[in-house]
Symmetry: C2
Subunit: 171 residues, 2 copies
Amino acid sequence: MHSEAVAENDGVRAGKRTNGGAVADAVSLAIIEQLQEDGRRPYAAIGKAVGLSEAAVRQRVQKLLDQGAIRIAAVTDPRGVGLLRQATVGITVEGDPVPVAEALAELAEVGSVVVTAGPFDLLAEIAVTDDEHLLRLLTQRVRTLPGVRSTESFVHLGRRERAGVWRPPPP
Amino acid sequence: MHSEAVAENDGVRAGKRTNGGAVADAVSLAIIEQLQEDGRRPYAAIGKAVGLSEAAVRQRVQKLLDQGAIRIAAVTDPRGVGLLRQATVGITVEGDPVPVAEALAELAEVGSVVVTAGPFDLLAEIAVTDDEHLLRLLTQRVRTLPGVRSTESFVHLGRRERAGVWRPPPP
DNA sequence: ACTGAAAACCAAGATTT
DNA sequence: AAATCTTGGTTTTCAGT
Protein backbone atom coordinates (compact mmCIF):
# COMPACT_ATOMS: atom_id res chain seq x y z
CA MET A 1 0.00 0.00 0.00
CA HIS A 2 1.08 3.46 -0.77
CA SER A 3 0.35 6.59 1.12
CA GLU A 4 -1.45 9.46 -0.45
CA ALA A 5 -1.42 11.57 2.66
CA VAL A 6 1.43 13.80 1.69
CA ALA A 7 0.09 16.29 -0.75
CA GLU A 8 0.67 19.81 0.38
CA ASN A 9 4.06 20.69 1.63
CA ASP A 10 4.76 24.28 0.94
CA GLY A 11 8.35 23.91 1.89
CA VAL A 12 10.57 21.35 0.33
CA ARG A 13 10.23 19.20 -2.66
CA ALA A 14 12.49 16.29 -2.12
CA GLY A 15 13.50 15.79 -5.68
CA LYS A 16 15.76 13.08 -6.97
CA ARG A 17 19.29 13.62 -5.99
CA THR A 18 22.12 11.46 -7.15
CA ASN A 19 24.15 12.60 -4.24
CA GLY A 20 26.17 9.88 -2.60
CA GLY A 21 27.73 11.19 0.58
CA ALA A 22 25.90 14.38 1.37
CA VAL A 23 26.12 15.49 4.97
CA ALA A 24 22.59 16.83 5.10
CA ASP A 25 20.17 16.75 2.23
CA ALA A 26 17.40 19.21 1.49
CA VAL A 27 14.90 17.53 3.78
CA SER A 28 17.20 17.44 6.77
CA LEU A 29 18.03 21.05 6.08
CA ALA A 30 14.34 21.87 6.24
CA ILE A 31 14.02 19.98 9.50
CA ILE A 32 16.91 21.94 10.98
CA GLU A 33 15.24 25.12 9.87
CA GLN A 34 12.15 24.15 11.83
CA LEU A 35 14.19 23.33 14.89
CA GLN A 36 15.94 26.63 14.65
CA GLU A 37 12.68 28.45 15.01
CA ASP A 38 11.70 26.28 17.94
CA GLY A 39 13.95 23.56 19.27
CA ARG A 40 11.04 21.93 21.03
CA ARG A 41 8.66 21.82 18.11
CA PRO A 42 6.88 18.43 18.03
CA TYR A 43 8.19 15.94 15.51
CA ALA A 44 4.73 15.52 14.07
CA ALA A 45 4.46 19.23 13.32
CA ILE A 46 7.86 19.19 11.70
CA GLY A 47 6.88 16.16 9.68
CA LYS A 48 3.82 17.94 8.40
CA ALA A 49 5.91 20.93 7.39
CA VAL A 50 8.52 18.94 5.50
CA GLY A 51 6.33 16.11 4.23
CA LEU A 52 7.52 13.23 6.36
CA SER A 53 6.07 11.00 9.00
CA GLU A 54 6.70 11.74 12.63
CA ALA A 55 8.93 8.72 13.07
CA ALA A 56 11.04 9.58 10.06
CA VAL A 57 11.64 13.04 11.40
CA ARG A 58 12.63 11.67 14.76
CA GLN A 59 15.06 9.25 13.19
CA ARG A 60 16.68 11.96 11.16
CA VAL A 61 16.95 14.33 14.08
CA GLN A 62 18.46 11.59 16.19
CA LYS A 63 20.99 10.92 13.52
CA LEU A 64 21.87 14.56 13.14
CA LEU A 65 22.39 14.76 16.88
CA ASP A 66 24.45 11.58 16.96
CA GLN A 67 26.79 12.70 14.26
CA GLY A 68 27.16 16.07 15.92
CA ALA A 69 25.75 17.99 12.99
CA ILE A 70 23.37 19.88 15.25
CA ARG A 71 22.79 20.47 18.93
CA ILE A 72 19.49 21.39 20.50
CA ALA A 73 20.02 23.59 23.49
CA ALA A 74 18.88 26.62 25.41
CA VAL A 75 20.83 29.70 24.46
CA THR A 76 20.95 32.41 27.05
CA ASP A 77 21.36 36.07 26.51
CA PRO A 78 23.96 37.49 28.90
CA ARG A 79 21.87 40.64 29.11
CA GLY A 80 19.28 38.55 30.87
CA VAL A 81 21.49 38.41 33.94
CA GLY A 82 22.64 41.99 33.90
CA LEU A 83 25.67 41.65 31.65
CA LEU A 84 24.72 44.50 29.37
CA ARG A 85 28.04 45.42 27.84
CA GLN A 86 29.73 43.04 25.45
CA ALA A 87 33.08 43.20 23.78
CA THR A 88 35.62 41.27 21.78
CA VAL A 89 39.10 41.37 23.22
CA GLY A 90 42.12 40.77 21.05
CA ILE A 91 45.03 39.36 23.01
CA THR A 92 48.67 38.75 22.20
CA VAL A 93 50.52 36.10 24.11
CA GLU A 94 54.08 35.16 24.85
CA GLY A 95 54.62 31.47 24.25
CA ASP A 96 51.82 28.91 24.00
CA PRO A 97 48.42 30.59 23.67
CA VAL A 98 46.41 27.46 24.43
CA PRO A 99 46.80 27.41 28.23
CA VAL A 100 45.94 31.09 28.25
CA ALA A 101 42.82 30.36 26.23
CA GLU A 102 41.84 27.69 28.72
CA ALA A 103 42.35 30.00 31.66
CA LEU A 104 40.28 32.69 29.96
CA ALA A 105 37.45 30.27 29.25
CA GLU A 106 37.12 29.69 33.00
CA LEU A 107 36.31 33.30 33.72
CA ALA A 108 32.66 34.05 34.39
CA GLU A 109 32.63 36.94 31.95
CA VAL A 110 34.04 35.03 29.01
CA GLY A 111 31.73 33.47 26.48
CA SER A 112 34.22 32.00 24.05
CA VAL A 113 37.87 32.14 23.16
CA VAL A 114 39.38 31.43 19.77
CA VAL A 115 43.02 30.85 19.01
CA THR A 116 43.78 32.70 15.81
CA ALA A 117 46.50 33.20 13.27
CA GLY A 118 47.11 36.88 12.82
CA PRO A 119 48.03 40.03 14.72
CA PHE A 120 46.16 38.68 17.72
CA ASP A 121 46.83 35.28 19.18
CA LEU A 122 43.47 35.09 20.90
CA LEU A 123 40.05 36.62 20.48
CA ALA A 124 37.78 36.48 23.51
CA GLU A 125 34.10 37.30 23.56
CA ILE A 126 33.20 38.78 26.91
CA ALA A 127 30.17 40.21 28.67
CA VAL A 128 30.27 42.60 31.60
CA THR A 129 27.92 44.87 33.49
CA ASP A 130 29.54 48.18 32.63
CA ASP A 131 32.76 49.86 31.62
CA GLU A 132 34.13 49.78 35.11
CA HIS A 133 33.64 46.05 35.18
CA LEU A 134 35.37 45.76 31.83
CA LEU A 135 38.35 47.69 33.10
CA ARG A 136 38.56 45.57 36.22
CA LEU A 137 38.34 42.39 34.21
CA LEU A 138 41.11 43.40 31.84
CA THR A 139 43.53 44.77 34.37
CA GLN A 140 43.02 42.35 37.22
CA ARG A 141 42.01 39.11 35.55
CA VAL A 142 43.27 39.05 31.98
CA ARG A 143 46.50 40.99 31.98
CA THR A 144 47.63 39.22 35.11
CA LEU A 145 47.51 35.82 33.42
CA PRO A 146 51.00 34.49 32.80
CA GLY A 147 51.97 34.93 29.17
CA VAL A 148 49.53 37.70 28.31
CA ARG A 149 51.39 40.49 26.59
CA SER A 150 48.71 42.93 25.50
CA THR A 151 44.97 43.35 25.11
CA GLU A 152 42.85 45.46 22.82
CA SER A 153 39.12 45.83 23.30
CA PHE A 154 36.37 46.19 20.73
CA VAL A 155 33.22 47.20 22.54
CA HIS A 156 30.08 45.95 20.81
CA LEU A 157 27.71 48.64 19.63
CA GLY A 158 25.35 46.39 17.71
CA ARG A 159 25.04 42.91 16.34
CA ARG A 160 23.42 41.06 13.49
CA GLU A 161 23.12 37.31 13.54
CA ARG A 162 22.75 35.21 10.46
CA ALA A 163 19.14 34.47 9.58
CA GLY A 164 18.85 30.82 8.62
CA VAL A 165 20.92 27.68 8.73
CA TRP A 166 24.38 27.11 7.39
CA ARG A 167 24.04 25.93 3.84
CA PRO A 168 26.40 23.77 1.86
CA PRO A 169 28.85 25.94 -0.07
CA PRO A 170 28.14 26.71 -3.69
CA PRO A 171 30.40 24.79 -6.11
CA MET B 1 -3.63 32.50 36.55
CA HIS B 2 -1.97 35.77 37.28
CA SER B 3 0.73 37.07 35.08
CA GLU B 4 3.37 39.20 36.59
CA ALA B 5 4.41 42.33 34.84
CA VAL B 6 7.87 41.96 33.49
CA ALA B 7 10.00 45.00 33.01
CA GLU B 8 10.61 45.62 29.35
CA ASN B 9 14.07 46.71 28.51
CA ASP B 10 13.40 49.00 25.65
CA GLY B 11 16.41 51.23 25.66
CA VAL B 12 18.50 49.74 28.43
CA ARG B 13 20.77 52.26 30.01
CA ALA B 14 23.96 51.60 31.84
CA GLY B 15 23.73 51.98 35.57
CA LYS B 16 20.28 50.52 35.95
CA ARG B 17 20.20 47.74 38.48
CA THR B 18 18.05 44.80 37.63
CA ASN B 19 17.82 43.83 41.25
CA GLY B 20 14.16 44.63 41.65
CA GLY B 21 12.74 42.11 39.22
CA ALA B 22 14.83 39.02 39.60
CA VAL B 23 15.57 37.79 36.12
CA ALA B 24 16.37 34.24 37.05
CA ASP B 25 16.72 32.80 40.51
CA ALA B 26 18.79 29.80 41.45
CA VAL B 27 16.14 27.29 40.47
CA SER B 28 15.53 28.77 37.06
CA LEU B 29 19.26 28.86 36.59
CA ALA B 30 19.38 25.16 37.30
CA ILE B 31 16.59 24.56 34.82
CA ILE B 32 18.46 26.48 32.17
CA GLU B 33 21.52 24.42 32.89
CA GLN B 34 19.51 21.30 32.17
CA LEU B 35 18.16 22.71 28.97
CA GLN B 36 21.63 23.65 27.90
CA GLU B 37 22.71 20.06 28.05
CA ASP B 38 19.65 18.98 26.13
CA GLY B 39 17.06 21.44 24.94
CA ARG B 40 14.53 18.66 24.49
CA ARG B 41 14.89 17.12 27.91
CA PRO B 42 11.42 16.23 29.27
CA TYR B 43 10.03 18.57 31.91
CA ALA B 44 9.61 15.70 34.31
CA ALA B 45 13.29 14.81 34.13
CA ILE B 46 14.23 18.42 34.69
CA GLY B 47 11.86 18.62 37.62
CA LYS B 48 13.45 15.62 39.22
CA ALA B 49 16.89 17.17 38.80
CA VAL B 50 15.99 20.52 40.31
CA GLY B 51 13.40 19.38 42.85
CA LEU B 52 10.24 20.72 41.25
CA SER B 53 7.07 19.29 39.84
CA GLU B 54 6.81 18.82 36.15
CA ALA B 55 4.16 21.49 35.80
CA ALA B 56 6.18 24.00 37.73
CA VAL B 57 9.13 23.46 35.45
CA ARG B 58 6.92 23.88 32.43
CA GLN B 59 5.57 27.16 33.70
CA ARG B 60 9.00 28.49 34.45
CA VAL B 61 10.38 27.51 31.09
CA GLN B 62 7.40 29.09 29.38
CA LYS B 63 7.96 32.27 31.28
CA LEU B 64 11.65 32.34 30.48
CA LEU B 65 10.81 31.90 26.83
CA ASP B 66 8.13 34.59 26.91
CA GLN B 67 10.50 37.01 28.57
CA GLY B 68 13.09 36.30 25.98
CA ALA B 69 15.55 35.30 28.66
CA ILE B 70 16.28 32.08 26.85
CA ARG B 71 15.68 30.56 23.48
CA ILE B 72 15.58 26.87 22.72
CA ALA B 73 16.89 26.18 19.29
CA ALA B 74 19.01 23.95 17.14
CA VAL B 75 22.50 25.27 16.73
CA THR B 76 24.30 24.07 13.65
CA ASP B 77 27.97 23.52 13.26
CA PRO B 78 29.10 24.99 9.94
CA ARG B 79 31.58 22.13 9.68
CA GLY B 80 28.59 19.84 9.33
CA VAL B 81 27.98 21.21 5.84
CA GLY B 82 31.55 21.33 4.70
CA LEU B 83 32.48 24.78 5.94
CA LEU B 84 35.64 23.68 7.67
CA ARG B 85 37.60 26.85 7.89
CA GLN B 86 36.42 29.65 10.16
CA ALA B 87 37.72 33.11 10.67
CA THR B 88 37.01 36.47 12.22
CA VAL B 89 37.36 39.35 9.82
CA GLY B 90 38.05 42.84 11.08
CA ILE B 91 36.73 45.49 8.74
CA THR B 92 37.13 49.23 8.54
CA VAL B 93 34.44 51.25 6.85
CA GLU B 94 34.07 54.67 5.34
CA GLY B 95 30.88 56.30 6.54
CA ASP B 96 28.02 54.45 8.21
CA PRO B 97 29.01 50.90 9.13
CA VAL B 98 25.45 49.69 9.75
CA PRO B 99 24.35 49.18 6.14
CA VAL B 100 27.62 47.38 5.51
CA ALA B 101 26.91 45.13 8.48
CA GLU B 102 23.49 44.36 7.07
CA ALA B 103 24.88 43.53 3.67
CA LEU B 104 27.47 41.27 5.23
CA ALA B 105 24.88 39.45 7.28
CA GLU B 106 23.15 38.42 4.06
CA LEU B 107 26.16 36.51 2.79
CA ALA B 108 25.94 32.75 3.06
CA GLU B 109 29.35 32.50 4.67
CA VAL B 110 28.72 35.02 7.43
CA GLY B 111 27.54 33.86 10.82
CA SER B 112 27.40 37.15 12.67
CA VAL B 113 28.50 40.73 12.39
CA VAL B 114 29.16 43.11 15.23
CA VAL B 115 29.55 46.83 15.00
CA THR B 116 32.38 47.78 17.31
CA ALA B 117 34.14 50.76 18.74
CA GLY B 118 37.84 50.44 18.12
CA PRO B 119 40.39 50.02 15.37
CA PHE B 120 37.88 47.93 13.44
CA ASP B 121 34.41 49.16 12.68
CA LEU B 122 33.04 45.67 12.13
CA LEU B 123 33.92 42.17 13.18
CA ALA B 124 32.44 39.38 11.07
CA GLU B 125 32.46 35.70 11.92
CA ILE B 126 32.67 33.71 8.75
CA ALA B 127 32.90 30.08 7.68
CA VAL B 128 34.29 28.84 4.38
CA THR B 129 35.38 25.59 2.82
CA ASP B 130 39.05 26.39 2.35
CA ASP B 131 41.56 29.18 1.93
CA GLU B 132 40.70 29.68 -1.69
CA HIS B 133 37.09 30.22 -0.73
CA LEU B 134 38.17 32.68 1.92
CA LEU B 135 40.19 34.64 -0.58
CA ARG B 136 37.32 34.69 -3.05
CA LEU B 137 34.90 35.84 -0.36
CA LEU B 138 37.10 38.68 0.77
CA THR B 139 38.11 39.99 -2.61
CA GLN B 140 34.90 39.51 -4.54
CA ARG B 141 32.17 39.85 -1.94
CA VAL B 142 33.42 41.85 1.00
CA ARG B 143 35.89 44.33 -0.40
CA THR B 144 33.53 45.16 -3.22
CA LEU B 145 30.83 46.37 -0.83
CA PRO B 146 30.47 50.13 -1.00
CA GLY B 147 32.15 51.74 1.98
CA VAL B 148 34.50 48.93 2.87
CA ARG B 149 37.97 50.30 3.28
CA SER B 150 40.04 47.38 4.50
CA THR B 151 39.82 43.86 5.88
CA GLU B 152 42.05 41.85 8.14
CA SER B 153 41.51 38.15 8.73
CA PHE B 154 42.06 36.09 11.81
CA VAL B 155 41.86 32.44 10.86
CA HIS B 156 40.58 30.26 13.67
CA LEU B 157 42.98 27.59 14.85
CA GLY B 158 40.99 26.44 17.86
CA ARG B 159 38.06 27.41 20.03
CA ARG B 160 36.87 27.06 23.59
CA GLU B 161 33.27 27.77 24.48
CA ARG B 162 32.14 28.70 27.93
CA ALA B 163 31.04 25.73 30.00
CA GLY B 164 27.81 26.65 31.78
CA VAL B 165 25.24 29.40 31.77
CA TRP B 166 25.79 33.10 32.13
CA ARG B 167 25.73 33.92 35.80
CA PRO B 168 24.81 37.16 37.50
CA PRO B 169 27.93 39.29 37.89
CA PRO B 170 29.95 39.08 41.09
CA PRO B 171 29.97 42.25 43.23
C1' DA C 1 -3.03 16.77 41.66
C1' DC C 2 -5.98 14.49 38.14
C1' DT C 3 -7.37 13.57 33.45
C1' DG C 4 -8.12 13.52 28.54
C1' DA C 5 -5.30 14.47 24.57
C1' DA C 6 -0.94 14.76 22.30
C1' DA C 7 3.55 13.32 21.55
C1' DA C 8 7.40 10.23 21.78
C1' DC C 9 9.05 5.69 21.47
C1' DC C 10 9.64 0.99 19.71
C1' DA C 11 9.68 -2.88 16.69
C1' DA C 12 8.59 -4.85 12.46
C1' DG C 13 7.13 -4.55 7.73
C1' DA C 14 7.27 -2.26 3.29
C1' DT C 15 9.91 0.32 -0.32
C1' DT C 16 13.50 2.20 -2.73
C1' DT C 17 18.44 2.50 -4.16
C1' DA D 1 22.05 -5.77 0.94
C1' DA D 2 21.53 -1.34 3.08
C1' DA D 3 19.26 2.48 4.14
C1' DT D 4 15.01 4.95 4.86
C1' DC D 5 10.04 5.64 5.38
C1' DT D 6 5.65 3.99 7.16
C1' DT D 7 2.45 1.77 10.24
C1' DG D 8 0.34 0.23 14.46
C1' DG D 9 0.55 -0.53 19.21
C1' DT D 10 2.40 1.24 23.88
C1' DT D 11 4.27 4.34 27.11
C1' DT D 12 5.30 8.89 28.45
C1' DT D 13 4.52 13.67 28.49
C1' DC D 14 1.82 17.59 28.07
C1' DA D 15 -1.75 21.28 29.16
C1' DG D 16 -6.01 22.62 31.31
C1' DT D 17 -9.19 22.06 35.05
